[in-house]
């Protein structure tokens, strides 16, 4: 829809360089550096209070970084007003102006920019068509459903024809079905516009499905910045491993010692050898639910034993919740036709290639896959 944006591909990259943000003495962001390429879709994800929204607000110019630099399109924008950063933002609670019609909401930013009337009308009409809002333009936000409001909010960003879209948990107020729908729509929008998009969410499914790269944040610090699958398969640390993936990764704590050039992990009756990680002390291993195989309790090759707590048959697969083997309950994702019953004692075999070893400072991932 935007002709202006497609003549050449302009630089619409975003980069944060060692950005810090303190609210009083409280650090919200600690030395955050992220590069977002032109046209890339990046998701900032993390638990609430991790600083992801603050980071987005700093890119938008709604918050000032305490230190560090922010660049958009290759220019430093720290001193540029939000309106002049050529960005558009979609807010969690839509933030539509309640006293204006959908049409006025869409056109407000353009009016502020003193665009000619006809240009505003044309852009509003185009955005309304793209988002299926044409019939609703004269309604006020109160007369729109949640999904429609979100569309108007999206439209308000769209008409600006910005070089960067910022989304602040835009889907979290929608019901589950609508959320999936809007998710697809946003992904589709990105494909069509090819604009740089930065999307904040606490929902890891949104992060995994939307992002070309995802940045996992915790307590104001970047934990990992990589493609979704990479984050899932090679989590940088235990936090990322635990945060990404449903059901949660299974972990068990133990001790790591060096023995004959290998790092040997021991937890109760489990012993696993990894390539030398150059670290000894408290450690943990993590195995995703699909890395567990449930076997007969008496099987000689069972690594661990546990009791089946409950079953969640999902049709295509079966989730088996276990009471252990350590202090934390584990989950196994197995074939839908697997047979087991709650209360049953069961053996667990770990897929050796998929065991992650975490340890040391910030529980970094030291290795994946055991050695003989």
């Amino acid at each position: 829809m935007s002709q202006a944006g497609q003549q050449r591909s302009p630089d619409t990259s975003v980069s944060l360089v060692a950005v810090e943000k303190y609210f009083g003495d409280v650090p919200a962001i600690r030395s955050l550096s992220i590069e977002v390429d032109s046209g890339e879709f990046v998701v900032l994800v993390g638990p609430s209070g991790c600083g992801k929204t603050t980071a987005l607000r700093m890119i938008a110019g709604l918050e000032e970084p305490t230190s560090g630099e922010i660049h958009i399109g290759g220019h430093r924008v720290d001193d540029v007003e939000p309106a002049d950063r050529n960005i558009a933002m979609v807010f969690q609670n839509y933030a539509l102006y309640p006293h204006m019609s959908a049409r006025q909401n869409l056109g407000f930013g353009l009016k502020m920019r003193k665009l000619p009337r006809e240009e505003i009308d044309a852009r509003v009409r185009r955005a309304a068509e793209v988002l299926g809002l044409a019939q609703l333009l004269d309604r006020r936000p109160a007369q729109l459903s949640g999904g429609q409001r979100q569309r108007v909010a999206l439209g308000r960003a769209l008409v600006r024809e910005p070089s960067v879209f910022l989304f602040d948990e835009p889907l979290s107020n929608l019901d589950a079905r609508l959320r999936v729908e809007m998710r697809a729509e946003i992904a589709d929008l990105h494909r069509r516009l090819g604009t740089t998009m930065i999307f904040v969410t606490h929902d890891q499914v949104e992060a995994m499905t939307l992002g070309q790269r995802i940045a996992v944040l915790n307590e104001g610090a970047l934990q990992q910045y990589a493609a979704p699958l990479r984050v899932y398969q090679e989590p940088a640390n235990l936090f990322v491993a635990t945060f990404i993936g449903t059901p949660t990764i299974n972990t068990i704590e133990g001790q790591l010692a060096t023995d004959a050039g290998r790092s040997v992990f021991r937890a109760s009756d489990l012993t696993l050898a990894f390539p030398d990680a150059g670290y000894t002390g408290a450690a943990a291993i993590g195995v995703r639910p699909e890395g567990l195989e449930l076997v007969n309790v008496g099987a000689s090759d069972a690594d661990l034993r546990s009791t089946v707590n409950r079953l969640e048959p999902l049709g295509n697969e079966l989730l088996v919740y276990l009471d252990g083997p350590g202090e934390r309950p584990w989950v196994a994702r197995v074939n839908a036709d697997s047979r087991c019953t709650p209360g049953e004692l069961i053996g667990i075999r770990l897929d050796r290639r998929r065991i992650h070893l975490f340890g040391g400072e910030q529980q970094k991932r030291l290795a994946t896959g055991t050695v003989a």
Binding site: P82, F91, Y97, F108, R113
Partner: protein, 303 residues
């Protein structure tokens, strides 16, 4: 599933749990009790309304009596024959046309002034960030503790010093700021979500435009409430106009009504006729702004 539902946890908590076994609620207020309560509530409301309305009706009734009828004992609730002549009589006994104009100018001036100062100051206290903001606000609030009578003389001296006695400037100027109004507007602006203003900022609106185009239109109910209160307060203000005006040309309606008292004799029917006339604009105003007014009170939490 852990544990069993503790049946003795009882009451509201127990009933809220979806898994509680079917336990019939023991006490459900019977229909009759509920009806009795409704009747009682209505009766109480009617009684309170009656106590409010009675002086009002008495005023109307007295305004239609002859001078002699007033002093009859036992007093009569209604005039034997309505003396409609009291109205033109009262309103021409003093230059009430002038008084009404003065009262109107006074009240409208006060309303415009208070809306302006309360909206801007209230917004600043609610949304802008500056050093000592909250302490300054508390200081403002604390002035509400000072009785108006205490500052009456200083106010007069000030106006006198400025040479504004017996002028609209003198009448209106000291009424332009209402701390209560600032408080009302501040509370209201605090309910406007920050994201709305952020959206405005990203849309390219400067601080003034955000205030004027986004926040202020949303505050209409609060503005209507404040405007109505300010109008009523000014309209019924007797003391200040009495002190600060001297000439017949500058007197207000309230001062005019009071002047029936004891000037030669107290003409009760005339006074009441003038009073009834003075109430009419207020009632009309209330009818027009009622919708906003009630909304404003609800939304600021002043229930």
């Amino acid at each position: 599933m852990g544990g069993r539902v503790d049946r003795r946890s009882g009451g509201a908590a127990g009933r809220g749990l979806p898994h509680t076994t079917a336990e019939p609620p023991k006490r459900r207020p019977a229909g009759r009790t509920r009806r009795a309560r409704t009747v009682a509530a209505w009766a109480l409301t009617a009684l309170l309304a009656a106590t409010m309305l009675l002086p009002f009706l008495w005023m109307v009734s007295t305004s239609l009596m002859s001078e002699l009828e007033i002093y009859r004992f036992p007093p009569r609730l209604l005039p034997a024959a309505a003396q409609w002549d009291n109205y033109p009589g009262a309103l021409t006994a003093r230059p009430f046309g002038r008084y009404f104009v003065n009262s109107f100018i006074f009240a409208v001036g006060v309303v415009l002034g208070q809306l302006t100062t309360a909206a801007t100051t209230g917004y600043a206290f609610a949304k802008l960030e500056f050093r000592g903001r909250d302490r300054l606000f508390m200081l403002f609030l604390s002035t509400m503790m000072v009785p108006a009578v205490v500052v009456l003389i200083p106010r007069f001296l000030l106006i006198d010093h400025l040479g504004w006695v017996d002028s609209y400037a003198g009448l209106i100027s000291t009424e332009l700021v209402s701390v209560w109004g600032i408080f009302l507007m501040r509370q209201y602006f605090r309910t406007v979500p920050r994201e709305l203003e952020d959206a405005g900022v990203i849309d390219g609106a400067g601080p003034w435009t955000v205030f004027w185009r986004i926040s202020l239109p949303l505050a209409k109910p609060a503005l209507a409430t404040l405007g109505l209160f300010a109008f009523i307060e000014a309209w019924k203000n007797l003391l200040w106009p009495l002190i600060v005006t001297r000439s017949m040309e500058m007197r207000t309606v309230e001062v005019g009504i009071a002047s029936f008292h004891g000037l030669f004799i107290t003409n009760w029917p005339f006074q009441m006729a003038a009073a009834v006339t003075a109430v009419v604009p207020i009632v009309l105003l209330f009818l027009f702004t009622q919708r906003y007014f009630v909304q404003g009170i609800q939304m600021t939490g002043f229930r």
